[in-house]
Amino acid sequence: MNITFKLYAGLSQYLPEGSARNAINLNITTLETACSIIEKFNIPKESVHLVLLNGIYLDADERENFKFKEGDILAIWPPVAGG
């Protein structure tokens, strides 16, 4: 299935070639989870803070177990804030 994978702020460097505006299309199997994708792209675990699936926050358990569906958007940020 296809999902959109986005990495922002200091994590942008871990996006593969071909990405645009911090996003790339990924073709994944039904076995993939947020955690497995984070591992696949060599993103340091301590830099992973906000993990959003279609804009909704995933906690640690959901990152391990949540299964994707076609068209999902996975977006990840390191610790950031502003105002």
Binding site: Y8, A9, N22, I56, Y57, P79, A81, G82
Partner: protein, 616 residues
Amino acid sequence: MAWTRNVLRVNLTSGSITHESLNMQWANDYLGQRGLATKYLSEEIDPKCDALSPENKMIMTTGPLTGTMASTAGRYSVVTKSPLTGAIACSNSGGYIGNEMKNAGWDMVIFEGKSPHPVYLYIENDKAELLSAEKLWGKSAWATDELLHSIHQDPLLRVAVVGRAAEKGCLFSAIVNDLHRAAGRSGVGTVMASKNLKAVAIRGTLGVGSISDPAKFFKATEDGKKILAENAVTGEGLPALGTQVLMNIINEVGALPTRNHQEVQFEGASEISGEAMLEIRKGDGKANLTTNGACFGCTIACQRISTVDKNHFSVKDKPEYHGNSGGLEFENAWSLGTDCGIDDLDAITFANFLCNEDAVDPISLGATIAAAMELFEEGVITVEDTGGMELRFGSAEALIWATEVTVKGEGFGLELGKGSKRLCEKYARPEISMTVKGQEFPAYDPRGIQGMGLAYATSNRGACHLRGYTVASEIMGIPEKTDPLVTDGKPALVKAFQDATAVVDSAGICVFTTFAWSLEDIAPQIDAACEGDWNAERCLEVGERIWNMERDFNLAAGLTGKDDTLPKRLLKDVAKSGPATGKANDLHKMLPEYYELRGWSPEGVPTDATRSRLGL
């Protein structure tokens, strides 16, 4: 230097300048800056007075940590009654002038009355004099700053100044200091101009003194700086991308107000984001962001220093704008960009330059232009009103035009300068104004971040994110993650943020430290600097006292619990995309519990028991 214990009182009507001792009982109860100056204002003016009359006073004020070696300790505030809202105004700024005021030996400067002719206040340590500003009146904030440096031949002179907009009565005029920093919100610059006070120029060389326990202070501030340096947000995130890192996040979570809050996600967000500011432009081969910068004593350094592509239509024939200048914060990129449906990074960067140049609050300006654009799209405002300009969403040309006429106070800009509420009322469409208590919203849609709805509705200075920034918890997980789409627990969360922020704003440090510091980290710094014992518990009580005092000021000014509300659009019209799809803000589920937690009556009035508990 903790408190200098010195207050400078400037009567602009008579021209007299007097010195007096700081009321230390009040300093013990209200700490400094926001809290202490609001206490002075509450005691000295009738809250019902016309904000633009000589009866209103304006206080420039520092906190006990301002000017010390504590990180971010360059903050100062301007406290007065707001002409935009009729409520208390307290606008906070960084840069260097707060430190300079403290180094000149003053905790605060109180301005009263109205000068018969334009003047500026020049302070050099204990010498203070009112000088003629006849040659400065009519000039922009930047031109005035340059002239004052030339007149006094002192490159280290620090200047706070109003621009042309304030002189022409723009109700959301700011006071700009150090060219690119601003006491931005609620029209504090309008009050300053109404007093014929063009600028305050300060040189302070007295240095730091009177720290209560210097050895303890060195240790406490060193510990604090270590925490900021090692924290991923204050040590890495903010220096790299500034507040603009939020543009993509807030869009992703479906809480980015778009086209005057008609939508909650913007298709052009990534084009004007912090990440986009790092990308090389096609036009001139440069990135929007040149580098970051810092205010006095700051070890975070979130400031943006930017350029506009010199080939861009907005500056093509204006070489004076081709160099580095103050870049976009998230709020400004949102108001001038997203809220107006504009994804042209150069255009909104230039509009932001213009706001700095003439000291205008870009949040209120962008939000007012957005309201005008909606009125234009509906055919309520026409080209006859604007003099030919089509004020359409997405038009960068319209944004630049509207910004230029407003900051200069020309033509239709005089209408825009009255703010969104008055503009929409004039055209008999008050429901289109996205304001609380007359002040325009910042960049978080309360349909997608429920707690912010309560924070906006109850903010003592009208719609504002900096009175209780629950976004930190609801979106970023600081100090802990809460669900932005539920109302449970939000009244307590909002109260906790409001009270803690009131203390930080009264101490002389920047609220951004709180992404890494709790009051347990801040209290030891205050405790070592000031007389008496200051622990986190006492700080929080002071914060609650300040919040209730501000509430009392507003009630005395004529506001009521009925003003603690949101525009119908946010309470009735549901979000159409993103995680909040189908949701409006459920303020009614939060407000009664909030009043109860505050110790207020069901009408939103502090009870006698609450006033007694807080010593009000």
